[in-house]
């Protein structure tokens, strides 16, 4: 019992020590305004990593930290008070959760900076010989998608609705990259993802084109979060994303201009 008390005491001391340490660092990072945190949709992972490197080369004093995930997850985190400066969503609905009632709010109006089309992702060499959305309903095809709140989950359902295909997914994954992984690992046969994700998967997967009349154009908005402690750097990052060099980087990953 004494040991137990002692342990709790140690924890309390450790916690107190950490609390004391953190305050000076927090003020020092604010003083020169050199750090921002960007929360971005999972489908932007590779493009934004490269964009971040280019941005930091152009602005050596600024340090950018990224966190990627489902736009729905990220906006929940922001609205719960996660310290972040910029939010890039894969759809307008999740951006609305930031700017709408009960949201953490944006500084200024969100700007659309990229668009993306959807494709069916299949295993390397398309072993099931898929040709279009209708083949997803073929017996024995393991189809996975994302939860309905996640942008890709909603877009994928829109494609299926337009194509009048009824298919029950085997799983509702957390974000688009989880869908890609299930296919590249061979656990699932197909999923509907962004064209940029198929491209990013390289030779581990193949893409099947979804005809334009049933395809969906995903629009990506970006905004500075109202609670930012570093508005100049956050605005500079968004300016870079929408600038010619920023758009050129996005284009190499397969994103189109809005």
């Amino acid at each position: 019992m004494t040991l137990l008390f002692g342990l709790f005491g140690l924890f309390a001391l450790a916690a107190a020590a950490c609390g004391d340490d953190s305050s000076p660092t927090a003020t020092s990072s604010n003083s020169n305004g050199g750090e921002i945190t960007v929360l971005a949709a999972a489908s932007l992972t590779d493009a934004f990593r490269e964009l971040g490197v280019a941005f930091q080369t152009a602005n050596p004093a600024t340090k950018v930290t990224f966190s990627f995930g489902a736009s729905s997850t990220l906006v929940t985190q922001i609205n719960q008070g996660a310290p972040a400066d910029v939010f890039a969503s894969a759809d307008l609905a999740n951006m609305d959760k930031l700017t709408g009632a009960g949201g953490a709010g944006a500084a200024g109006t969100p700007i659309a900076f990229a668009t993306n089309k959807l494709q069916i992702i299949v295993g390397k060499g398309n072993p099931r010989g898929m040709a279009g959305p209708a083949d997803l309903a073929k017996p024995g095809v393991v189809y996975v998608t994302a939860a309905p709140a996640v942008p890709i989950g909603k877009y994928a359902q829109q494609v299926l609705d337009k194509a009048k295909v009824v298919v029950t997914p085997k799983s509702l994954e957390a974000d688009v990259r989880a869908v890609v992984n299930k296919v590249t690992l061979g656990e699932a046969d197909a999923g509907i993802v962004y064209a940029t994700d198929v491209k990013a998967a390289g030779d581990k997967a193949a893409g099947v084109t979804i005809p334009d009349d049933v395809n969906v154009l995903a629009t990506y908005p970006i905004a500075v979060i109202k609670a930012t402690k570093n508005a100049p750097a956050a605005n500079a990052f968004i300016a870079y994303v929408t600038s010619a060099p920023g758009q050129a980087i996005l284009a190499t990953f397969g994103f189109a201009k809005p």
């Binding site: 709790f8 929940t76 996975v144 939860a147 709140a149 997914p169 085997k170 957390a174």
Partner: protein, 258 residues
């Protein structure tokens, strides 16, 4: 000392108070009765009981082996069999993928020869839960066996009892409190299992979407429902822990102090 203990109690009580404070009590009943929450609850209970059963079936012999038989590499085997307890569950899920997935070390043969696929099935959930839960039973039962005076069993054997009879009538009653405690710990761990489940078994209502998964997803789409499902899990676990402590676990403290 008392102050620190109270701090610890507050530390544990505060998160629950937060949940209770935010809970939408008026809608609580309709949320619990909503189909996806009810399905998840049923699935959680069924799967966690299955994995508890499997943990007892395989864990008790394993504990006997580790406690009673001296063999080369026993320490390494014990570490291996309890590794999943300290491993991040997501890592466990990924490891299960490469072992039992459709392209996994063993999984590819299950798929090819028996047409058995574990990911995206209830069996996959049970396996993921058993993988993380069984060590809790093993270490509890093993330590009880180590404390058990082997002379009782020796006496039974010299009086002509068979190995099985001795185990059933001497060993088992002696370790009963530990066995129940271990089973409860394993069950609670299985009930709360999230990481390995969503990684290995995926997430789909009625087949693999357990209560923790539905809670996590609802947090994005419908936070009030997430609070209610959290409270439901908390209530079930709390009641079971209290009931067991009173009715069965008393034996442990009694034998420990004797």
């Amino acid at each position: 000392m008392l102050v620190l203990a109270v701090v610890a109690i507050v530390f544990f009580a505060l998160p629950f108070a937060g949940l209770l404070w935010r809970a939408p009590w008026r809608d609580a009943w309709s949320i619990v009765r909503s189909s996806d929450v009810r399905d998840a609850l049923r699935l959680s209970i069924v799967c966690s009981l299955w994995s508890t059963g499997l943990s007892v079936l395989f864990g008790v012999p394993l504990a006997c082996l580790l406690a009673r038989v001296h063999f080369f590499g026993r320490a390494a085997v014990r570490a291996l069999c309890t590794l999943s307890m300290v491993l991040p569950p997501v890592v466990g899920g990924v490891a299960l993928f490469f072992a039992l997935g459709r392209r996994g070390l063993v999984g590819q043969w299950l798929d090819r020869w028996f047409d058995i696929r574990l990911p995206f099935t209830m069996a996959g959930v049970v396996i993921a839960q058993t993988f993380v839960a069984m060590p809790f039973l093993v270490i509890t039962v093993e330590s009880a066996l180590r404390q058990l005076d082997p002379r009782f069993e020796d006496a039974a054997r010299t009086l002509g009892a068979s190995r099985w009879y001795t185990f059933r009538r001497v060993t088992l009653p002696a370790i009963r409190p530990a066995l129940i405690a271990g089973a409860v710990l394993a069950w609670a761990r299985a009930l709360g299992e999230f990481g390995a489940t969503i990684t290995f078994a995926g997430n789909f209502p009625r087949t693999t979407q357990t209560l923790p998964l539905v809670t996590y997803l609802k947090l994005e789409s419908n936070p009030p429902e997430a609070i209610i499902t959290s409270l439901a899990m908390m209530a079930v676990s709390f009641l079971v822990l209290v009931a067991l402590r009173e009715r069965w676990l008393g034996g442990i403290t009694a034998s420990a102090s004797a």
